[in-house]
Amino acid sequence: MRIGNTSSVTKYEVLKILLIEDEPKLNSFLKKGLKEQGFVVDAVNNGSEGMEFASANDYDIILLDLMLPGQNGFDVLQNMRAFKIATPVIIISALNDTENVVKGLDMGATDYLKKPFDFNELVARLKVATRKSVGESFSNLKIDDVRLDLLQRKVWRNEVEIHLTTREFNLLHLLVANCNRIITKTEIAEKIWEVNFDMSSNVIEVHMFQLRKKLGEGLGNKLVQTKVGVGYYVEGELIRS
């Protein structure tokens, strides 16, 4: 058993990004900044051009503004889905009301970033969004009697589906993907909460308690183990498929 440092759950390759933003300055800065972060960026300034690029190339992620000349962002997103382009889309817009956020997410966007945003936040979100779509060549994880479908984000134990919240799923995914390694509370806070709260908080314990309860830990085999004062771990043979 080893106590993990911060080895990532997934590995990041050179990501190819399509940026659709009509504001020339913002378009230029984002392109420049993302390139400096190591991304490959194609930048266009209208929806029609964006559609052409998206259908002609294979992107890892698309950054889409909503207020575009001609086809607006919603039209572009709708057309992409109609043309079976399943590339994850992050909407970046100054339309900050809930209605637009909900509409965008309902139409299949992965995330919605409200303008003005911090560039580092955009990079962080790009990494989170792409983590789900690239870097893992497998979509199922199985350990003991627990199976995780990473694409559908579903969990089964003894072939009985267990309904987890997004955070509980991410927590289980982190533990299973790093099985036989103790994950410290600090690491869990950083990776699952992305918030550096006071470690005396009972946040992780309570969520872990809920996860264990849902996994039926009281009844069957105990999957998630506690290393008192250190962290949590899952033991067993991990099968990826």
Binding site: P116, D118, N120, Q210
Partner: protein, 425 residues
């Protein structure tokens, strides 16, 4: 009603006075007749003293110019102090009435026989009192009946106006306001309802314009801010000079502040025009707290570790219906205040738990450097306490309004150098 009462009372007072004078005249006449009858019975002979009816008393005098000679006076005849008044035809007090008649004697000496008859005056006084009572009762009954009658009549007559008022009261300022029901009466009431609806259309238009203006202005301001933030973030990443890095960081903070101000102005405008839409969806309260913390952390990265979170198992296991976006703004505001106004090394506790009257309760406790005066005014519009005077002074006002729109509440108090903010949803 008041006018009717005043007129009725005045008329009844006149009637009473008229009846009173008529009764008095009839009574005077009756007593004078009685006196004349008795005087006739003396046949102008002062030695014959007539016997009055029961309850009467008499007094007889013979007078010659100013000299008066009493012939007979009944023992119970009232004592009249004023001698001049004694010879008036009628003397009346509340106790008695005296009628006096005279007739010349046939003695050729110019003597006159004067006869006065007295009786108690209670009968007339009773008649006065009865008349007064009857009129008063009649008056009161008339006012009461007319009040009921006028109430029903006015209710019936004003029913269409009442309906218009009721509809008008239900109209709230929003982008799509209710209309007043227009009765098909082809009168002033219909005209009033139509006028009110026209006014509602104008108000609606004005609210739409205002909301659109703020939304457009916010959008137009956010785009340059996004450019500035992107440029500053990028420059900050590439900058090695510590001094320039500090300047860029400061500029980046200011753009963030401007961005929050724009959001606040937009939400204030929506709250004031009652156009803020609350879209409730089942969500987890703790997730909104984490999300808010991430955004506060973004503002004050170094201080994020100060937040100590305590969760209640039961609350986090259930979905609560609320507008996550708006509630997130409430928490960002409260966390930001807690960071701003507590000592840099002070812990900020967040307790997420249940409450008997609400779906959940989130308590934020931070240490205070100095006591806050007028805590009750902190949720007021544009209120800034003297000790803590940065910002618009609208943050807690916005928080309270958003929570009230959710049927929740915001409570603030201080206890043992700690400032407590309780959020109920």
């Amino acid at each position: 009603m008041l006018v009717f009462s005043v007129i009725t009372l005045s008329v009844n007072l006149l009637i009473y006075r008229h009846v009173k004078s008529t009764l008095k005249a009839a009574d005077d006449k009756e007593l004078l007749n009685e006196a004349n009858q008795l005087l006739l019975r003396t046949r102008n002979d002062p030695n014959i003293v007539p016997l009055p009816d029961s309850g009467r008393s008499i007094s007889m005098h013979v007078i010659n110019q100013s000299l008066s000679h009493e012939i007979f006076t009944s023992p119970n005849f009232p004592f009249v102090t004023d001698e001049q008044a004694m010879y008036l035809p009628i003397i009346e007090t509340s106790q008695y009435k005296i009628a006096t008649v005279s007739s010349p004697l046939n003695d050729f000496e110019g003597n006159k026989l004067v006869l006065s008859i007295a009786r108690e005056n209670d009968k007339l006084q009773k008649q006065y009192a009865d008349t007064k009572s009857y009129l008063f009762i009649a008056n009161a009954v008339a006012i009461f009946i007319s009040a009921i009658f006028s109430f029903f009549v006015s209710s019936w007559v004003l029913a269409p106006i009442a309906k218009v008022i009721d509809s008008a009261n239900k109209i709230g300022a929003s982008k799509s306001m209710k209309r007043v029901k227009v009765p098909n009466t082809k009168d002033e009431v219909q005209q009033l309802a139509e006028t009110m609806n026209n006014m509602v259309v104008r108000i609606e238009e004005s609210i739409k314009n205002q909301t659109n203006f703020f939304a457009s202005a916010a959008h137009e301001l956010r785009t340059p801010l996004a450019i500035m933030q992107a440029e500053l973030s990028l420059s900050l990443t590439n900058e090695d000079d510590p001094k320039r890095k500090l300047t860029l960081k400061s500029l980046l903070d200011e753009t963030g502040r401007l961005s929050r101000l724009i959001d606040d102005f937009l939400i204030i405008s929506e709250l004031k025009s009652q156009t803020l839409m609350i879209r409730k969806k089942p969500a987890r309260i703790e997730e909104v707290v984490y999300s808010a913390l991430k955004k506060v952390k973004h503002l004050k990265q170094a201080e994020a570790g100060r937040f100590l979170i305590n969760l209640d198992d039961n609350v986090i296991a259930t979905d609560i219906s609320f507008d996550a976006d708006k509630i997130e703004n409430v928490f960002i505001n409260i966390f930001d205040n807690a960071l701003k106004y507590s000592p840099a090394d002070g812990s900020i506790q967040i307790r997420i738990g249940s409450d008997a009257n609400y779906s959940c309760k989130v308590e934020i406790i931070s240490r205070l450097e100095s006591p806050v005066e007028d805590i009750s005014r902190l949720t007021g519009e544009y209120y800034k306490s003297q000790a803590y005077s940065s910002g618009l002074g609208m943050g807690l006002w916005i928080c309270e309004r958003i929570l009230k729109l959710h049927g929740g509440d915001l409570r603030l108090f201080q206890k043992e150098n700690n400032f407590h903010v309780e959020v109920f949803i």
